[in-house]
């Protein structure tokens, strides 16, 4: 198994901690003039998303985590698993509820997502930054209102609920920023 020494620590490095794959967010070198040096590290557990702080003795080594991001196309949901495919190789992966987590509300068939694999198994799914989804439910808006002031909730085909301007209607396709969950614009067919 590959290992990293603390002096290779930097943001984004993937390591194993307490048997879970983690990603280093921040690394601070702490050393008294006379005495032991430490690396105080802020780490995200990639399974739970929790951020913790941990101190290592400088020079110690930790096991690397085999974590990679792969672009995959979302295919379908069979009721239990969400199926994805690597476009180049047609290799398929099935992700469970834990891996898909909050991304589920943005998934649209054929969209390209980022799949994080740990030891070649789906760990998490990141939807595209922008998705285009059809509104399945929203209050009828007032004709002619183009101001967008106030807005109203709208349910999208994927199940997500976003605030949209009053003039946007059922059946229309809108563009949403998945990082903020905010409406961006209507999409002309």
């Amino acid at each position: 198994m590959a290992t990293y020494s603390t002096n290779e620590f930097k943001g984004g490095l993937k390591i194993m901690l307490d048997n879970d794959p983690c990603s280093i967010i921040e690394n601070e070198f702490v050393k008294p003039g006379k005495g032991q040096a430490f690396n105080r590290v802020k780490i995200r557990n990639l399974k739970t998303g929790r951020v913790i702080e941990r101190t290592f003795k400088s020079g110690d080594t930790v096991e690397s985590a085999d974590v990679v991001d792969v672009e995959m196309q979302y295919l379908y949901n069979d009721g239990e698993f969400w199926h994805f495919m690597v476009p180049d190789t047609y290799e398929q992966y099935q992700a469970d509820k834990n891996a898909v987590a909050d991304a589920v509300k943005w998934l649209k068939e054929q969209d390209i997502c980022t799949m994080t694999l740990w030891n070649d198994s789906p760990l998490s799914v990141t939807p595209p930054n922008f998705v285009e989804l059809t509104i399945t439910e929203t209050d009828p808006g007032l004709k002619g209102d183009t101001s967008g002031g106030g807005g109203k909730p709208a349910t999208l085909e994927s199940g997500a609920v976003v605030r949209v301007p009053l003039f946007v209607q059922i059946g229309e396709m809108i563009r949403v920023d998945t990082r903020t969950g905010e409406y961006v614009s209507r999409v002309k067919e």
Binding site: F29, G33, Q36, T55, K57
Partner: protein, 324 residues
Amino acid sequence: MKPSWRPVADIRQLRQRAQLLAAIRRFFAEREVLEVETPLLCRATGTDPNLDFFSSRFHSPPNPQTLFLQTSPEFAMKRLLAAGSGSIYQICKAFRNGEAGRFHNPEFTILEWYRVGFTLQQLMDEVAELLLGLLAPKLPHLSVRRIGYQQLFKRHTGLDALCFNRQAYREYAVDYPEADGMCGEDHALWLDFLFSHCVQNRMPEDTICLVHGYPAIQSSLARLNSDDTRVAERFEVFINGMELGNGFFELSDADEQEARFDREIARRRRQALPDVAKDRLFLAALRSGLPECSGVAIGLDRLLMIATGCEEIAEVLAFPVGNA
């Protein structure tokens, strides 16, 4: 990111560095302390297992030699003292391998001085006087506080620093589940861990904190207290939680010094660290007689960080290691 040719520190920091150096030289000139220079490239280096050094090859046929970039000018300056130099100071570069971060650059500037005939108390007074003078323009409300290591440690952790009790230490460090596995039965390591994680960051603000009476297991090159051998005649100076320097009532007993070297060399072997030889010329100087003296080293880059309000050491360096 690609390194830029441009300096990282801006011109204000560079000017302030020049002023700081001039003020320090004035301070010592007024007190008739002699400025000296000693080699940066040395035949021998320190044995401290916590200090990693840079080494280089000196091409001097027929016997090529390894030379070390000094981690501190301490040994060479003590050779001058033993030769009768009287009180001396030096402003120089020191090099420590593997040290890079918000408060560390592997090459940094040290102000080190020795006062012949000074007790540790007198030297602490002088450190406070120098720092108050240098920092007055930026921090006019700076005050000075002396506190015993044991007392400070107890105040913030409730633990006895001198008497190791692994269970009590572990129970206190409940928020640091990694501590017990990492520190184990190593008392000094526990102290380093707890002090840097739970004490240092809680020191009073805008105060020059002179922490004295370090535990004997962290004596380094300090003499042990003659009344209480559990503590060393060593102090450290902190401002706003940042460690600025280390001072000692200097160990002058050559045999005791050699025994400490041997212990550190043995520890290096146990930890599979690079072997180093004892500095024989330094030991010979001690044998010929080091005058009673106290000495201290201050990190000038960090002092400059405080004087300029910078958060990272790189901001006060023209070319930190990233684009040196």
